[in-house]
């Protein structure tokens, strides 16, 4: 049966219009004013906003190998609840996604059992060890959208240069998790006021910036499409802004938590504030917002990094890095960036849907006739409150646990199929 979304405010070509959307099977058949009901299933979206489904370039689904934290089913369910219709899975699973069999496993499982589309990011080097280039061209044949050693960072500049050259032969972007290991050391939080105060090892911004500077130079030399994951410092954003001005092929993303949260949250040793790169200073946070507005930062990505309760519930130093992202992303950004007047709702949608969709070169991220029906219906006045009882992710490691946020995802459609309903 065709579905008719009536009376919603639809995000079309960068602005909101009161239109109806007719979905036929997987696709948007028609967008029009007052489409008459012809025995369709009607979804009344009165008072709600209809947005292009969110796209997340950076997530960890932990499947295969770490399904105590998350798996493809729970991860995509959580994604759908957060309004995401396409998510990209980072390759640091067990085994690492450095071969076609694992790519195929993830894609097939997501297709058969998933609640959102899953695109796969392959490993840049075998086992992400930073030594030998992985079989990038073969994985491209199986549909990977980018390569990355995320979670790890190739330290050897020569190997990185060769890997970037190789990847650029096939025009696939290389995503870098920028971290110079010696400078980061065994750091736990941002190096500065709070690492001094809490006696925790510091991770200086320099550890991130020095790799970004290096990789920008390598991208210039190799002509590779370089994408920088989760930028977190003012200086890092300056480096990328300058490189873009010079015409280097570089893009970058920022996480919701680096846009919204700062290092002072670590003061009570809450392991749900332990993340890499670490939460930084207010100055850095403001630079992230400015970078998002001026276009230096291309889009928002969650870095959804689930860890089981019993892994996070322990000594701060011994707990793993990473926080849960899908279910809080939109509401936290809407509440704390849009409602506070920092950015417009339109910009938020661009950065959560349109821009990341363009990056992976898929025909999604915009509401248009003929496109697949990837739609997220939100009620901006309604609230959410994530609890360990209502989260769909297997893990509950979010700093937003038990906090009330505005901007509720009411319903999500992925390829025309309802994947979430509040």
């Amino acid at each position: 049966m065709k579905k008719l979304i009536k009376n919603g405010k639809i995000y079309l070509d960068g602005k909101f219009e009161n239109k109806d959307i007719l979905i036929n099977d997987e696709k948007i058949e028609q967008i029009g004013s007052d489409i008459q009901n012809d025995n369709f299933e009607v979804i009344d979206a009165k008072g709600n906003f209809v947005l292009p489904g969110f796209v997340d370039l950076h997530s960890h689904l932990r499947d295969p190998g770490q399904t105590n934290k998350e798996d493809i089913v729970s991860g995509t369910k959580a994604a759908a609840k957060g309004g995401f219709t396409t998510i990209c899975a980072m390759p640091n699973t067990e085994p690492i996604v450095d071969n076609v069999a694992t790519v195929e496993y993830i894609k097939r499982k997501a297709k058969d059992l998933g609640y959102s589309k899953v695109e796969v990011i392959g490993a840049l080097t075998k086992k992400s060890e930073g030594k030998e280039i992985s079989e990038i061209a073969s994985m491209i044949e199986y549909g990977i959208v980018a390569v990355s050693d995320d979670g790890h960072c190739v330290q050897n500049a020569k190997i990185k240069l060769n890997a970037m050259k190789y990847a650029s032969s096939f025009d696939i972007p290389v995503i870098v998790h920028p971290e110079e290991y010696n400078l980061a050391g065994s750091g736990q939080i941002n190096a500065g006021k709070y690492s001094t105060k809490l006696g925790l090892g510091g991770i200086p911004g320099l550890a991130e910036e020095i790799i970004i500077a290096r990789d920008i130079m390598l991208a210039e030399s190799s002509k590779c499409r370089l994408h920088i994951a989760h930028v977190s410092t003012a200086k890092a954003i300056d480096l990328i802004r300058e490189a873009k001005k010079k015409g280097v092929s570089v893009t970058c993303e920022v996480t919701p938590h680096h846009l919204l949260l700062t290092e002072d949250l670590c003061e009570n040793f809450d392991t749900n504030t332990k993340v890499k790169p670490p939460l930084r200073t207010e100055k850095d946070r403001k630079a992230c917002i400015a970078g998002l507005i001026d276009g230096t930062i291309d889009f928002i990505a969650t870095d959804h990094a689930p860890h089981a309760d019993y892994e996070k519930e322990r000594e701060f130093v011994l707990a793993p890095f990473g926080i849960n992202g899908f279910e809080s992303a939109f509401a936290s950004l809407y509440s704390e960036l849009v409602l506070t007047g920092n950015i417009s709702l339109e910009l938020l949608i661009e950065k959560m849907s349109t821009a990341p969709a363009k990056f992976i070169k898929k025909n999604i991220g915009e509401i248009k006739e003929g496109r697949v029906a990837d739609l997220t219906i939100v009620n901006l006045d309604d609230t959410i409150c994530l609890t360990s009882g209502n989260m769909l992710s297997k893990s509950k490691n979010t700093p937003y646990l038990n906090k009330t946020l505005k901007g509720k995802v009411i319903q999500t459609f992925c390829n025309g199929r309802e994947t979430w309903k509040a």
Partner: protein
């Protein structure tokens, strides 16, 4: 008589948890405990029937002994749990360990752990008061209290005193807790080390003075505290050699002459004689290093007494 003790059941994570008045109240109780320690019969019956558990995840002989002696002198029962930090990453979780111990009926936990913030977890899992006996580089409040008591006892106040702390500031929990407490009591503190052993933003966080030069740091000081310099910092690339460190930063007759004539000399121990402090200073009349150790037992008695509901 009405009990005015408002320390009952409270945690001591760091000195930030207590006001100036509360710290002075602890110092006064310490004074009373110290007198008991000087008696022939060093025991109070006060805490009969209470059980104190020392949880040590880091090697420590002195602090552990000091706490256990303190609890024994108050007639509390003491049980000890010791494990290395490495066993934590492999063996039972802290949560399960505390659940297990708690089931045995513990009234007060004393914890030392290499990870900052762990005392808070012990309280979270046990619901019982916790005294921090040192958590990583973060805090060592009982050491700071004994240091402060040692100065207070000699000088009557910390108000207006100039205190210089010299050595590996970066890795020292003693310094961090002392800075909070000394500042609260009105002292001005200068910390001195080469930049590689000095954490960033010290002035902003603690309101102290940072000096990389020993002589100017010691100028007109009322109190000088040396810190242990560990050889492993050399292999970490933080300084070139103990010999060069000593040349620049050792407390000697030569260097302490920039301080006030009667400046107190302190050290939290264990000392590296000949590296951060010369014997001529450690054993001098100005040195109160051994008294610090004695005061440590008294401070810990005071804290255990107050936390478990002793009358004041």
């Amino acid at each position: 008589m009405k009990n005015t003790n408002n320390f009952v059941g409270r945690n001591l994570y760091d000195l930030a948890d207590f006001s100036k008045e509360e710290i002075i109240s602890i110092l006064k109780t310490t004074q009373a405990m110290k007198e008991i320690n000087l008696r022939d019969y060093k025991k109070l019956p006060t805490l009969r029937g209470k059980t104190v558990c020392t949880l040590f995840f880091e090697n420590s002989t002195r602090t552990k002994m000091s706490f256990e002696l303190a609890a024994n002198r108050l007639s509390a029962d003491v049980v000890s749990f010791s494990a290395s930090t490495s066993s934590l990453t492999k063996g039972e979780s802290l949560q399960d360990t505390v659940y297990t111990l708690n089931a045995m009926g513990i009234d007060l936990y004393i914890i030392r752990h290499s990870c900052p913030g762990t005392p808070q977890l012990v309280n979270k899992y046990s619901g019982k008061p916790v005294l921090n006996a040192g958590d990583g580089r973060h805090a060592h409040p009982t050491q700071a209290l004994l240091d402060i008591f040692s100065i207070w006892e000699k000088r009557g106040t910390l108000e207006g005193l100039k205190i210089a702390i010299v050595g590996d500031i970066a890795h020292s929990r003693v310094v961090r807790s002392n800075l909070i407490g000394m500042k609260k009591l009105g002292a001005s503190v200068t910390v001195c080390a080469p930049k590689t052993l000095m954490p960033s933003k010290m002035e902003e966080v603690y309101g102290c003075t940072v000096d990389y030069d020993l002589k100017s740091a010691l100028k007109d000081a009322d109190v000088i505290m040396g810190l242990r310099m560990q050889l492993e910092r050399q292999s970490e690339g933080l300084f070139p050699s103990l010999e060069e460190y000593t040349k620049r930063y050792v407390l000697s007759k030569e260097t302490i002459k920039f301080a006030k004539k009667d400046a107190l000399i302190m050290h939290p121990g264990p000392m590296n004689r000949g590296i951060e402090i010369l014997p001529e200073i450690a054993d001098s009349n100005q040195s109160i290093i051994i008294e610090q150790v004695a005061n440590g037992v008294a401070v810990r008695m005071a804290l255990i007494y107050l936390t478990l509901g002793g009358k004041i």
